[in-house]
Amino acid sequence: MTLANYLVLAAILFTIGAVGVLVRRNAIVVFMCIELMLNSVNLTLVTFARATGTVDGQIMAFFVMVVAAAEVVVGLAIIMSIYRTRRSASVDDANLLKY
């Protein structure tokens, strides 16, 4: 096996996450799929860091993790406040701006 195996695995996992975002209706599960996509990109960054022999890719993966943590905190707070007002965590029910 070569380093390409890791990259292909990351691509497949990214796709699964993207399909999950499109298919699932529960806002929390959609968030988990986004986390999966971010993680697979991190795997790509770490693999390229190894290929180039520098630590820069690892630092970028580190920053991605920090941003993902901030995003999750705010996103889950938004989901909670939407749930409080609409009693639903489904992305189909938050459609007030549509009309």
Binding site: M1, T2, A18, E35, N39, V46, I59, M80, R84
Partner: protein, 268 residues
């Protein structure tokens, strides 16, 4: 020039790769959101091992501590707050959306996977040398505080903003005097129900203290109020009760102040 990796790493990859893949698929296909979270934990742990194998031990530790330790626990907290029974509806709101998404996903995976595999099949596995091993954390620290110092500082601003934003979003505004006092609460409890005290706990006076075991009242009957909701009540082996008197079930029988009753066996 094709650089093949070591056999040990290949074993790790071919064991953990399918596990990560199964975790991702299980996350997308689970009906229950809690199961989705647990599948994702599976994938993230596999990723942590991948990072360690790929000469990033610091990131591997951060992955396991931050992602599986903190972020997924946050997900589970919110799932419990929101209620885990708010599962997905099976109804498709857009016709054919699921099929279209799957086709799109397979096509995208094939395109990107094939493209990456072709483009990077000669990727040299240069390796980080000492920086991928013991000197990994000093190397990261040096870059983080020199070349990426600005990004690092902006990150701190981002984190504090996210924390404040989450507090603002999750905060509930209450009127100053809207909270009911203890006196009002107890008055409401006595006026509205005929059961002012707490409900009997499960298993009290019974021979087991599982939540599934109903409490036994002094007269030997089961207390329906002690049954937990959502759990099938189970009947434990009860101690043999005295059978000498015809008023079995009276208060004396349970307290043992009856005449010694003839027992069938010597199980007392």
């Amino acid at each position: 020039m094709t650089q093949t990796l070591g056999a040990g790493e290949a074993v790790v990859f071919w064991v953990l790769g399918p596990i990560a893949l199964a975790g991702a698929l299980g996350m997308v296909f689970s009906r229950n959101a809690v199961h989705s979270a647990l599948w994702l934990v599976n994938t993230m742990l596999a990723f942590g091992v991948f990072y360690v194998v790929q000469q990033a031990p610091f990131l591997g530790a951060v992955q396991i501590i931050v992602y599986t330790g903190a972020i997924m626990i946050l997900f589970l907290f919110v799932l419990m707050l929101v209620g885990r029974d708010t599962s997905d509806s099976v109804v498709e709101t857009l016709r054919g959306q699921r099929v279209a998404a799957t086709v799109l996903g397979v096509a995208f995976a094939a395109l990107v996977g094939a493209g990456i595999a072709r483009a990077t099949q000669d990727l040299p596995a240069g390796g980080l040398g000492n920086e991928g091993g013991p000197a990994n954390i000093p190397a990261i620290a040096e870059l983080l505080f020199t070349k990426y110092l600005l990004a690092f500082e902006v990150t701190s601003a981002l984190l504090i903003t996210a924390a404040v934003g989450a507090m603002v979003l999750a905060h509930i505004e209450r009127e100053p005097d809207s909270r009911r006092t203890q006196k009002e609460l107890s008055r409401a409890r006595f006026l509205t129900s005929n059961h002012p005290q707490t409900l009997p706990g499960p298993g009290v006076f019974a021979r087991a203290n599982s939540v599934a075991v109903p409490a036994i009242l002094p007269d030997g009957t089961r207390s329906e109020a002690s049954l937990a909701t959502g759990i099938e009540p189970e009947e434990p082996d009860q101690m043999r009760r005295p059978t000498g008197r015809e008023e079995l079930g009276s208060r004396d029988a349970a307290l043992g102040t009856l005449d010694p009753a003839p027992l069938d066996g010597n199980d007392r």
